[in-house]
């Protein structure tokens, strides 16, 4: 920047700042749209980022190299949720998969909502039938007592391991270990208490659970041999793909599926699930982001309006400036700087608002929002652009004034 440009720029900046302060309330009302727009951009993105990190960590918390086998036709094209079980996967499949070379551990799972009763207290929770490897695969140790072992699964023992929320609801402050609970009128001895896992990315309380052996679940509760899901841990990250194709081949063979027919199950690895979860979080961010963009647009129109008023009010000043030698470009620049300072100021306040909203969300909801630099920088640049874009027409109008007429304006 030349000395001239620098000097001019700073004087314009100073004068823009002064003008803004002279009409504090008016300036504030003008930039309200920008403040709200930028504030919601920052808040939205921080929610999106927080959600995506939460999804990532809850997926990581499911264990490493995890593959999930779900019943159903892959032509359905989605992950089967809900508790209805499509009858394609059996406990036999679970045992066969365990023998595959690339597979380390497995856990056949069947979860069902059930009433659980202890001494007149009852609580509706998720009862999960699982293998003895469940704690390893889910990376979820017990806090007290023990988890059931392979023998207890093989013998379909009536033992249960209880999650923290379910334990609190049923037992209050009493230690649940050793007590007998009723599930579906079947008595179970509580042998362990799971450590606290917290909420998952979808806001579900993961601790609201009772885990029992999958065999007991199938025989005594569900009365079926169909399993809800099979969780498999590959031996290593590299083995994930190998395990996936081994499992597919094995299950097709066991289910007698002819070559031209599609699979009657899906094998999902954890990174696919992570991607799906992330893309839905992204969609949410984009949607809210575009709402924010609309409010920035409205803010921009507000700035244009007030700049038009300002140009009219200051016609005489424009005339004076022209009389002492201001060129069209000088006047244009002066008003553009003013509108940019205005909208940039809105942007800065908006960032403050966004910070406020996202820390309030962190404080009052299970989601931990994350504010990163990118949305801040982008919002600032964007609000500057709004100022320049919407300030241009008023500034242009000012620069085209006839000096004699402008001087005569009272």
């Amino acid at each position: 920047m030349s000395k001239r440009v620098k000097f001019a720029f700073f004087l314009d900046l100073k004068s823009a700042y002064k003008t803004l302060l002279r009409n504090k309330v008016r300036s504030l009302l003008t930039i309200l749209g920008i403040i709200i727009g930028v504030g919601s951009v920052i808040a939205t993105v921080s929610i999106g980022q927080g959600a995506s990190v939460a999804i990532q960590s809850s997926i990581n918390s499911m264990g490493s190299n995890l593959l999930i086998i779900l019943p159903g036709s892959s032509s359905l094209g989605g992950i089967h949720t809900g508790f209805g079980v499509l009858p394609t996967l059996t406990l036999g499949d679970v045992h066969a998969i365990r023998k595959l070379p690339a597979v380390k551990t497995d856990s056949g799972n069947l979860g069902m909502p059930q009433q659980v009763i202890w001494r007149g207290n009852n609580w509706s929770t998720l009862v999960m039938g699982a293998s003895s490897t469940y704690t390893t695969i889910r990376d979820w140790p017990v806090a007290q007592g023990t988890f059931f072992n392979h023998e207890q699964v093989a013998s379909a023992a009536n033992v249960a391991v209880i999650g923290n929320t379910a334990a609190t609801e049923l037992f209050g402050l009493i230690n649940p270990i050793g007590h007998i609970i009723l599930i579906h009128n079947v008595p179970f001895t509580v042998i362990g208490l799971l450590s606290i896992k917290g909420f998952n990315a979808f806001g579900q309380d993961q601790d609201d659970i009772v885990v029992i052996p999958i065999t007991t679940m199938l025989e005594k509760i569900a009365g079926t041999t169909w399993v809800h899901a099979i969780a498999v841990s590959a031996k290593s990250n590299k083995d994930t793909a190998i395990a996936q194709s081994e499992i597919t081949a094995l299950l097709r063979q066991r289910h007698h599926i002819p070559l031209h027919k599609p699979d009657d199950f899906f094998v999902r690895n954890i990174s696919e699930i992570a991607q799906a979860a992330n893309s839905s979080a992204n969609t949410f961010t984009i949607l809210l982001g575009s709402i924010a963009a609309v409010s920035l647009l409205v803010g921009g129109i507000g700035i244009m309006n007030i700049m038009l008023v300002s140009v009219t009010e200051r016609t005489k000043e424009i005339g004076i400036r022209m009389a002492v030698g201001a060129k069209k470009g000088d006047i244009l620049k002066q008003f553009l700087i003013e509108s940019s300072v205005l909208s940039l100021f809105g942007g800065i306040l908006g960032i403050g608002l966004g910070f406020g909203i996202s820390s309030a969300i962190t404080a009052f909801s299970p989601l931990k929002t994350i504010v990163t630099t990118e949305p801040i920088v982008i919002s600032l640049i964007f609000s500057l652009c709004v100022g320049i874009f919407f300030g241009f027409y008023p500034a242009f109008k000012a620069s085209r004034m006839n000096p004699v007429e402008a001087l005569r304006y009272e």
């Binding site: 004076i320 022209m322 030698g325 000088d330």
Partner: protein, 255 residues
């Protein structure tokens, strides 16, 4: 008188003839100004011919609405005539672009208006700096020059005040400081005492006289007040858009 200084100022601007004894500072040839409002045309100036030499103090008199301000605006390059040619320092400026005219106003012409025309938001010294700002002078130098100009109108102690904190007479002196700060060779003053009582008016006129005599600045003064017009050395009268008389004012005719 101050020919050497003017020569120096002139040399950086292309298209100007270096003024010599034969080239008038301002030369109007058959200048006409016609305003069109709807279908009706108002011929405010018709075939005005006028030469002003450097160092002159010219007073223009005439009734209200006779076209004095229009004539001054054309000479001050604030407006373009609709007919005729205008030579400033020998250069034809009648068909320049608005930016070229802005440049001339910035370098060559200082204005003093009836209504003072200071920017209320800016301090006194910032108002005086304004022409320097548009000629791109660095801030420090500009402030120094503005303070020098304020000293010349005896206002060096008021630099940090704002226009609404000083009297009308003082505001007009600030306007004079602003007009001379860029060493412009010409000052155009349109009814500069119109909003002042006769004592303040006389005070302001003293400074025009001083600037004219000590710095050789050419002054063109519009007034309908005979006493004020008499501060000049030459007087022309405008009536219905034409110059009707031209006379040399006797020295000390006033007092």
């Amino acid at each position: 008188m101050n020919g050497k200084v003017i020569k120096e100022r002139v040399k950086d601007y292309e298209g100007y003839a270096i003024p010599d004894g034969n080239t008038p500072l301002i030369k109007l040839e058959d200048i006409g100004m016609t305003y069109k409002i709807g279908d009706v045309s108002y011929e405010v100036l018709r075939k005005v011919n006028l030469s002003v030499n450097k160092g002159e103090f010219l007073s223009i008199m005439g009734a209200s609405g006779s076209g004095k301000s229009t004539l001054m605006n054309i000479m001050g390059c604030l407006d373009r005539p609709t007919a005729g040619r205008y030579f400033l320092e020998g250069r034809d400026v009648s068909n320049l672009t608005s930016d070229e005219l802005a440049e001339i106003r910035n370098k060559k012409i200082g204005f003093v208006f009836q209504g003072f025309n200071l920017i209320q938001r800016l301090s006194i010294v910032e108002n005086v700096e304004l022409p320097l700002y548009y000629s791109g002078m660095p801030s420090k130098e500009a402030t120094e020059m503005a303070m020098d100009a304020l000293k010349l109108v005896d206002l060096s102690d008021k630099g940090n005040k704002f226009p609404n904190q000083i009297s009308g007479g003082e505001q007009q002196r600030v306007a004079i400081a602003r007009a001379i700060v860029n060493n412009a060779p010409i000052i155009m003053a349109d009814e500069p005492t119109g909003n002042l009582d006769s004592i303040r008016g006389a005070e302001v006129m003293k400074f025009f006289k001083k600037i004219n005599e000590e710095r050789g600045v050419t002054i063109i003064l519009v007034s309908h007040d005979k006493n004020i017009a008499n501060y000049g050395k030459r007087l022309i009268t405008v009536k219905d858009g034409i110059i009707t008389s031209s006379a040399i004012i006797e020295a000390k005719s006033m007092i």
